[in-house]
Amino acid sequence: MSTYRLQVNGKPHAVDTDPDTPLLYVLRNELALNGAKFGCGLGQCGSCTVLLDGQAAMSCMVPVSVVGARQVRTVEGLGDARTPGALQQAFIDEQAAQCGYCIAGMIMQATALLEKTPAPTDAQIRAHMAPNLCRCGTHMRILRAVRRAADALAGGKR
């Protein structure tokens, strides 16, 4: 057991845990941030996607000991039910969730894209979202939601 100081959604946390503990377990079990989900545990499905310094990372594959001072961001940091962020709102508007299990990961993967590429092409969205799987098959709605959020964010700036 060691103590790890993590920056999650802009807030500092100190966590006592084993160095091998996946970041996903720390977020869910220690910090009660249950947005990121455990899907495959092998980095194959993307439902545990969070941001590390702005880059999408599958948190089931991240031992807590490697996080260091990097900023961790989860879906909870984007907004809540009353004040959803632009991507969350777009996912609601497109009814992109069926069972919803993959959605937090999808939204974080999309966040990484839109922060770096505010006006992505449809091909860029497809390629960027490729790591994240949805077993209900709402991929087309998810792609539309990312498009909608990109357009909404671009509109807001105009």
């Binding site: 092998l42 590390l52 999408a56 990372a57 000991s65 990097r70 497809r126």
Partner: protein, 432 residues
């Protein structure tokens, strides 16, 4: 006085003559005439078009000439070279922006000499120094295939070459050094299948373009055929006696690998080789078998050796007396927590087999570039295609962590001496 003036005048005349002659030679090297546009696209026999389609798969034309799957062969894909960024061009039948106005003579000249119809010299990113040795019948068939591709309007994108390579006529000098258009000769000592493979590998599939090292001028280093080169900053392994493969390749494994990108318990194609196998998967089976036969004859020259790849089981923790213990412990922790879950639990092929890492050829390469790219970017099939899937770890591992992982895998996975300047290589591979 008079005498010396005459002497001086003679010298001037000689100098002038030399300049004229040299200019003439330079002109002959650098200048090619335009060929007249053809008024209409000729009609082609279906069998020729189909043979051309197979050659286009074997030559992997789409790999560079298709940037967007919905616009096949319309070009526009950027390719980084040491001399600048070159964009592939439109080779559909479009008259204005493609090659619809190109006669067979113009197409043949481009394939054999690297000259566009209008006379400008093409950059050798287009591997005409290989196609130069194609049979005329094969060039005819490729012509039939491309001139029947639906016309797509897509003008050429501007290249961004570093000075002075934007001046295309300079390519003429490269051609003097590296363009060998002597017809390809079969080796009578070898089987017909081997010779078919040798022809395809050299003149069509241009395997040696990546698997042979290049000179500083970007030409093939012919003294080191198949001695390992590079492609898009990946190491392209030696295919001769210097093959880094820790286990000998069988011919059947090579055939399966070239066809599917996977040889069970031996290798998974990554990086640019993924694109190669996607094309070979669409080519004639007999041609892929011939390529495997030829490649195997070269790989079989590699001496047998004892490597960790011959044993099973997870990789060991670092030895207590390791002089680089903290770094190796970090590498081992990353291996155990991030890599081993897929690579060492013997998952069934249907759920995405990962190689036991002691068998991964990238660990045995003479430099770490391919391993770094695999760790950073994973192995992803192209958009819309099925294939092996490994997530990338660039977002997860910082430079020091990635370097520690590579150092650990090299030592305790492959049992090979440390890669020199590993930290620099990691940083370089990650610099956009």
């Amino acid at each position: 006085m008079d005498h010396s003036r005459r002497k001086r005048r003679t010298r001037w005349w000689l100098l002038l003559a030399a300049i004229v002659v040299l200019t003439g030679i330079a002109f002959a090297i650098m200048w090619r005439p335009a060929l007249a546009p053809q008024s209409a696209i000729p009609a082609f026999d279906q069998t020729r078009i189909e043979r051309g389609a197979n050659l286009a798969q074997l030559g992997m034309c789409a790999s560079c000439h298709t940037a967007d799957l919905s616009r096949p062969f319309a070009g526009g894909k950027p390719m980084e070279t040491p001399f600048g960024t070159v964009h592939s061009t439109n080779i559909t039948s479009d008259r204005d922006t493609g090659i619809g106005a190109w006669s067979l003579a113009a197409f043949t000249r481009a394939m054999r000499e690297g000259v566009s119809r209008d006379g400008h010299l093409l950059y050798p990113a287009f591997p005409y120094n290989h196609y130069a040795r194609m049979t005329q019948a094969d060039i005819d068939d490729l012509y039939a295939f491309f001139l029947t591709r639906p016309a797509i309007a897509a003008p050429a994108r501007d290249n961004a070459m570093t000075f002075p390579f934007g001046f295309r006529p300079l390519v003429g000098f490269w051609n003097v050094l590296y363009l060998d258009d002597a017809p390809w000769q079969p080796d009578p000592q070898q089987s017909a299948e081997w010779n078919r493979g040798a022809y395809l590998a050299d003149a069509v599939a241009h395997c040696t373009a990546c698997h042979t090292p290049r000179t500083k001028l970007g030409g093939p280093d012919l003294k080191r055929q198949l001695d390992g080169g590079e492609a898009e900053d990946w190491y392209a392994p030696a295919l001769n006696r210097n093959s880094p493969s820790p286990l000998p390749w069988s011919r059947a494994q090579l055939h399966t690998y070239l066809r599917t990108g996977m040889a069970d318990d031996h290798a998974v194609a990554g990086g640019p080789m993924q694109d190669v196998v996607m094309h070979l998967a669409q080519a004639n089976e007999a041609d892929v078998a011939a390529l495997a036969a030829w490649t195997h004859s070269h790989l079989a020259q590699a001496p047998a050796r004892t490597t960790p790849a011959q044993r099973d089981g997870p990789l060991p923790p670092p030895a207590a007396e390791d002089p680089d213990l903290p770094r190796m412990q970090l590498g081992y922790a990353l291996y155990a927590n991030s890599c081993a879950r897929c690579h060492d639990v013997g998952r069934a092929p249907s759920s995405g087999t990962a190689l036991p890492l002691q068998k991964a050829i990238a660990l045995y390469d003479p430099d770490p570039r391919s391993l770094i790219h695999i760790v950073d970017d994973g192995i992803l099939p192209p958009d819309g295609e099925a294939g092996r899937w490994m997530p990338g770890f660039k977002a997860i591992l910082d430079d020091g962590q990635a370097s520690a992982l590579a150092a650990y895998l090299r030592k305790y996975g492959a049992g090979q001496p440390a890669w020199p300047e590993l930290d620099d290589q990691v940083r370089k591979a990650r610099t956009p």
